[in-house]
């Protein structure tokens, strides 16, 4: 059941569309032709009439007023107007349908557009779930969201009075954002070498890679094996990976660096040694006590000396007594 305010609202929208149809005329002529139109249309609606076609209505208005109808009002211009009309009609329907949901609807549409902008400007992978579009730029994301929320609320409160181009623009942005965000997960099947591979929890472990530079190869291997991290040995002199190197050589470099926390997929820790320099000249026991491994007790305290130590226990002197 429609009430008077509903008629007035519909009449205002219709009158606005009529003004848009007449926009090729001088502004003062349009103002004169449409002055008081809202009340006339509202009265007509109250009498049970339905809203007529806007284009025909504008033409009748011009004919009645004796204004020459320009021939250019056909073809592309007319098609553009029709498209704009459809967009605005959808906007009006969406606005009417969601008016009861405000302010939740205002928040939701701000969030949709924020996510859409995040998908474009933040340097995240397009295959990430839409909830995480601002994952790498959270502060900027929050800022953009707050700005959009402000605009959304302002727009929501003044929809009836907002300018036509504002409504047209806002509706287009919102519609485009929703379509892109909904469509995105369906077309993106990530290739194996994409960033998804790096971020996927199945293939990556977030782990502290221990620093093994400066200790012997044997100690480094043990530390990595305890963390179940694969490793390869690289000879810096020969510039090649080697299948075997004596454990006594010092690890000169490692890759990945300890500052990298993600350890992904098939990757191995590369332990760089230089076989041409000879083995580490430190005694093994010293190496154990001055390890550069992190404070992780697991890594530091469970290493086993690579050089076996033997303790010779001299037998105690025995005396033999003869009966």
């Amino acid at each position: 059941m429609s009430d008077s305010s509903d008629f007035i609202s519909k009449a205002a929208t219709f009158a606005e569309n009529v003004r848009r149809e007449l926009r090729d005329l001088p502004a003062e002529v349009v103002a004169d032709l449409t002055d008081g139109l809202e009340s006339d249309i509202a009265a007509s609606l109250e009498d049970g009439a339905s809203l007529p076609d806007v284009s025909q209505y504008a033409l009748d208005l011009m004919r009645g007023a004796g204004i020459e109808i320009p021939n250019s009002d056909v073809g592309i211009q007319k098609k553009r107007r029709k498209i704009a009309e459809v967009v605005l009609r959808v906007a009006d329907k969406v606005t009417t349908a969601t008016s009861g949901l405000a302010p939740a609807w205002w928040v939701l549409r701000a969030w949709i557009v924020a996510q859409f902008i995040g998908a474009i400007v933040s340097n995240t992978d397009s295959n990430r779930p839409i909830l995480a579009q601002w994952g790498e730029l959270p502060i900027l994301g929050i800022f953009i969201f707050v700005v959009l929320l402000y605009l959304s609320v302002r727009w929501g409160r003044s929809t009836k009075n907002s300018r036509l181009w504002v409504r047209y623009f806002a509706t287009s942005v919102l519609g485009m954002s929703a379509v892109v965000l909904l469509w995105q997960p369906t077309f993106s099947s990530p290739p194996a070498e994409s960033k998804w591979f790096m971020y996927a929890p199945e293939t990556c472990r977030i782990i502290d890679v221990p620093s093994v530079v400066g200790i012997t190869l044997g100690e480094a291997k043990m530390a990595l094996e305890r963390l179940q991290l694969p490793y390869v040995v690289f000879d810096q002199d020969a510039m090649t990976e080697i299948a075997y190197a004596p454990d006594v050589f010092e690890v000169l470099q490692q890759d990945p660096d300890p500052s990298e926390h993600a350890f992904c997929g098939e990757r191995s820790v590369q332990l760089v040694v230089d076989l041409s320099q000879g083995p580490a000249d430190r005694p093994p026991t010293d190496v154990l006590s001055t390890t550069t491994l992190p404070d992780d007790a697991l890594l530091v305290t469970t290493t086993i000396p690579t050089v076996a130590t033997t303790t010779t226990v001299k037998p105690k002197a025995t005396s033999t007594t003869t009966p």
Binding site: I8, D35, D40, A43, G64, A65
Partner: protein, 120 residues
């Protein structure tokens, strides 16, 4: 279908020539706003008159100086633009009314004559 459509076109063509006169005639009774004029015209039998044509006609008659207009604000909704007759409007109406009556007599005479011919 096509026949009905043609009939409507003919009627609208007839209406074009007399809409100024009809509009002024209903406003001569009492001032009125746009839709009020439409309502009065429909009440007299012009049921298919296009609202926008009447509103355009009102603006044109106003610009010709035959009508005056004033705005009545409303607390419940948008303002209403009322139209009333000017002295020039009354003069024009009287002149047009005379012309219409003469024209109507001529047309009636022609139509009646042709009807008699058809019957015989």
């Amino acid at each position: 279908m096509a026949h009905g459509s043609e009939q409507r076109i003919e009627r609208s063509q007839l209406l074009k020539g007399v809409l100024d006169l009809a509009t002024l005639a209903v406003l001569a009774e009492k001032d009125g706003y746009g839709y009020d004029v439409v309502r009065r015209l429909r009440h007299h039998g012009l049921t298919d008159v296009a609202e926008a044509s009447v509103y355009g006609t009102l603006r044109r008659l106003f610009s010709l100086g035959l009508l005056t207009s004033y705005v009545v604000p409303s607390e419940e909704g948008p303002h209403r633009k009322y139209y009333g007759m000017t002295a020039a409007g009354h003069e024009w109406l009287n002149d047009q009314r005379t012309q219409w009556n003469e024209f109507q007599d001529v047309i009636n005479s022609i139509v009646k004559t042709s009807t008699k011919g058809e019957k015989s």
